[in-house]
């Protein structure tokens, strides 16, 4: 064989190197990053706001306003991450995914408060991502309101976090952007869930981690509660405009038009209120009860100030 000349050699080395570099980039996160410390209560933790009405966008705004307005939470130049529940390939009328009008209004409120960048992100279950983001209406609503919309579908999008108080899990992963965010807003939809009875705010955080399957192999309710001790949203806005009563979490099933949006800082209190929409007592829902026991928040709605607007 002829000798390889320098050009050929360098070309080959560059090609192989580039391929391996790219391959090596995937799936490596910085291990052991701390979960973000909550920025301190901007809103009163003992209050949840329940706004009722027919227009999802309007009641979203009035719920946040009842707490004191988005300007109290979001400062000029902030990076805001909005985490809706859009895991499924379903259109919004099925009520298996967060209402895009709610997400859109949240983005607009953050913009008005001066946020420099708003990212809507979720870990989707159905594939492909583009289709799910399209069908759920989130891509259209998010971009129209001026946010970036993306799906965290690769392991490279996640970082390891510690869960010091965890009983079932002591460490897990979280979407990097959530860890980087100045403000993290959790925007679940209220639905029934075959395995956990209901899926509300804390259950929606399951979409922040990479390996959901591990939670099922462990004890699901405990894992949800554990994770809620480490990943604390700055604000939870629960979409209960239309709730899914059967066939949850993916649907389709029976739905009910409740016409409410619930906003609050206490993950347990918001979920406790959400559970009552389905006729459950909050303590009947395993993960809500466990989270309360671990000190995540208040389960007794009599001790929570509920502002009806």
């Amino acid at each position: 064989m002829e000798k390889m000349d320098r050009r050929e050699f360098l070309g080959a080395v560059a090609a192989i190197g580039a391929a391996l570099f790219v391959a090596g980039c995937s799936g490596k996160g910085d291990a052991g990053a701390e979960a973000p410390a909550p920025r301190g209560p901007k809103f009163d933790a003992g209050t949840i706001a329940v706004a009722s009405g027919k227009d999802p966008a309007k009641i979203t705004r009035s719920a946040v306003d009842a707490l004191g307005g988005m300007g109290k939470l979001v400062k000029k130049g902030d990076f805001v991450v909005v985490k809706p529940n859009i895991a499924w390939n379903q259109s919004p009328d099925i009520a298996a995914t967060t209402n895009p009008a709610v997400v859109g209004e949240i983005i607009r409120m953050c913009k008005e408060a001066g946020a420099s960048r708003i990212l809507v992100v979720d870990h989707l279950i159905d594939k492909p991502a583009e289709m799910v983001l399209g069908l759920t209406g989130i891509m259209a609503a998010g971009e129209a309101a001026g946010a970036d919309v993306s799906a965290a579908q690769n392991e490279a999008d996640y970082r390891t976090i510690e869960i010091p108080k965890g009983k079932a899990i002591q460490s897990d992963t979280c979407i990097k952007d959530i860890l980087k965010a100045d403000v993290f807003i959790n925007v679940p939809i209220a639905k029934v869930h075959d395995a956990t009875r209901v899926t509300l705010g804390m259950k929606n955080l399951m979409g922040c981690n990479w390996d959901r399957q591990a939670w099922h192999r462990s004890t699901l309710d405990q894992c949800i509660a554990d994770y809620a001790t480490a990943v604390r949203p700055d604000l939870i806005i629960l979409d209960a405009n239309r709730i899914l009563l059967t066939g949850g979490p993916k649907g389709p099933g029976k739905t009910k038009d409740v016409g409410q949006v619930i906003a609050g800082v206490d993950p347990v209190a918001v979920d406790a209120y959400g559970a009552t929409l389905f006729g459950f007592k909050p303590v009947e829902v395993g993960h809500i009860r466990l989270a309360n026991e671990m000190g995540v928040g208040e389960i007794d709605l009599d001790k929570v100030k509920i502002k009806q607007v």
Binding site: C25, N89, S91, D126, A195, R217, T246
Partner: protein, 536 residues
């Protein structure tokens, strides 16, 4: 060296045609790559489903390939309209104008020419004059060249006996498979690293079985250029053989005028080694109209022009009759072996292959026998599958089913709002269907292994299969105080999302088996079966 004055063109057509040929080659290759890249779905909001990014038919090169057209139509005893409409012009043009397809259009041929330019530029192809290198001389040996005709013969005979074998060696399928199975997944490493690139899937890193094999075949064919230029085209390509046969009476011919000085410069430059020791003579079925011989001719005696001159034109095939019979026998033998391979053994009721319980075909696939004969193994359905779930078969479907698409749910499910695979199938081995028909196109049935399932064996809070089911086919019932999953067979189409998401790893506790596959039934009958499902 010819004096410069004599090189001024009395016939400028030589270099002009050679350059034109290069331009056309580049354009055709670019078109091939463009169509390949555009074989990707994009969500369409109005259709509420995935549509192809490309407006042009992405399977154009398969439609115009007469070898695939003829063998598929003969083997399945059917007319495939798109292949007929697109393939016939190529056949007619070849009869009139010769084997230009190989020199001008074929993307594998262009890849071979490019390989020659890039990697074997310095390789001695022989010096002008009587002595060119021994390898070149050997490769001009008629015996080796005839192999491609014998291969073609075997394929045609096998097609007559109902087996389509062209996929094994058709150049268009070989290069497309190399692109799909080897190149494309490597490109999606960028996706896996979180880098968004237009025209690459933005959330799925692709993995394919047998990517090594697809790459090895392709690289092997390119590397054979070390022996001679276009070694593959000269000796093995069955499409080249077919086009060569068709071109025997072409009216575009190479003419060498009587002022040829006998310098033999054209001989080593001929990509196909078609020029005989006497440079005025050539093997017409081997000529691919690359026009390499015309500009090098110092006396400007060589031209390729419309002509019926028979001087120097050799179209006779020097085939060994015994070999022809052997090839025919081989074709019959392969067809017969296919019929008697264990994969041909089917169950009585629904004609399922007994070779693999996990042989899950894409939705809309024809009944197995017809599917295997029609499938061109072009790999486009596997490229376009948005979940990467469609994978090439190596053993599941037997020898005859090699490279055919199989759904591997653990890699990716058949996602609900998608029918892209049926949109890209040129031979319609995957029949077109509407998204709304998907709930009653049964690929298989999911079965829960209760000994593995953690909701069954250890009372875990797990109903992931039930949660994810797009067809409400997995339901829960309370058993011994615990919610446990069950499969409703009338509703389960075998899409495999449950198997994909099941927390039991690496093999899932709920798996899709082929036994629910009802391709032999009409759509109407499948719908009737669906309607028997108990209402919730």
């Amino acid at each position: 060296m010819t004096p410069e004055s004599q090189r001024t063109p009395t016939s400028p057509k030589g270099p002009r045609m050679e350059n034109l040929r290069r331009v056309v080659q580049v354009l055709c290759f670019a078109a091939f790559v463009y169509l390949f890249v555009m074989t990707i779905g994009r969500f369409d909001f109005n259709a509420k489903s995935n549509v192809l990014m490309s407006k042009a038919p992405i399977d154009t090169f398969f439609r115009i390939d007469p070898l695939l057209g003829i063998t598929t139509m003969v083997a399945t005893r059917s007319i495939i309209r798109v292949m007929l409409i697109y393939g016939l012009p190529i056949v007619l043009l070849t009869i009139v104008a010769g084997r230009f397809f190989c020199g001008w259009i074929c993307p594998l041929g262009t890849a071979l020419d490019a390989t020659d330019t890039v990697f074997f530029r310095k390789r001695k192809r022989g010096t002008p004059g009587s002595e060119w290198n021994a390898e070149e001389r050997r490769s001009r040996n008629r015996g080796a060249r005839n192999i491609k005709f014998y291969i073609l013969g075997a394929m045609l005979i096998a097609a007559l006996f109902g087996s389509q074998l062209a996929y094994l060696m058709d150049p268009i399928t070989i290069i497309t498979r190399a692109f799909t199975f080897a190149a494309f997944p490597i490109a999606t490493l960028l996706t896996g690293a979180g880098i968004k690139v237009p025209y690459l899937p933005d959330d799925v890193q692709y993995f394919f079985r047998f990517n090594f094999l697809a790459a090895a075949i392709f690289i092997g064919i390119l590397a054979a250029n070390a022996i001679s230029r276009r070694w593959w085209c000269r000796n093995l390509c069955p499409l080249g053989a077919l086009l060569g046969l068709l071109s025997r009476f072409s009216i575009v011919r190479r003419i060498v005028k009587s002022d040829c000085i006998g310098c033999k410069r054209c001989i080593p430059d001929c990509k196909m080694g078609a020029i005989l020791d006497d440079p005025t003579q050539y093997q017409a079925p081997e000529c691919i109209y690359c026009y390499s011989c015309t500009p090098v001719c110092p006396s400007l005696s060589t031209r390729i022009v419309p002509s019926l001159a028979s001087e120097g034109y050799h179209a006779e095939l020097d085939l060994n009759r015994r070999r022809v019979f052997q090839a025919a026998g081989l074709g019959v033998l392969v067809a017969a072996l296919g019929r008697t391979n264990v994969a041909a053994k089917t169950t009585r009721a629904s004609k399922l292959k007994t070779s693999s319980q996990f042989l899950i075909r894409p939705p809309g696939a024809l009944p197995e026998d017809e599917f295997v004969d029609r499938c061109l193994r072009c790999s486009e359905c596997m490229k376009v599958c948005p979940t990467n779930g469609l994978q090439p078969a190596l053993t599941e479907a037997g020898f005859e089913g090699i490279w055919t698409p199989v759904l591997v749910p653990r890699i990716g499910e058949c996602t609900r709002q998608c029918n892209l695979c049926s949109q890209v199938c040129s031979s319609q081995a995957i029949q077109p269907f509407e998204i709304k028909e998907k709930p009653h196109i049964y690929l298989g049935t999911a079965v829960i292994d209760r000994s593995q399932c953690i909701a069954w064996n250890s009372d875990k809070q797990c109903l992931v299969c039930d949660e994810c089911c797009s067809y409400r086919a997995v339901i829960w019932k309370t058993v011994e105080g615990v919610r446990r999953p069950f499969v409703e067979e009338h509703k389960c189409v075998g899409c495999g999302i449950c198997e994909n998401v099941c927390p039991i790893q690496p093999a899932a506790a709920i798996r899709v088996f082929a036994f629910g596959d009802t391709r032999t039934l009409s759509r109407k009958a499948q719908k009737a079966y669906f309607d028997q499902a108990p209402t919730e």
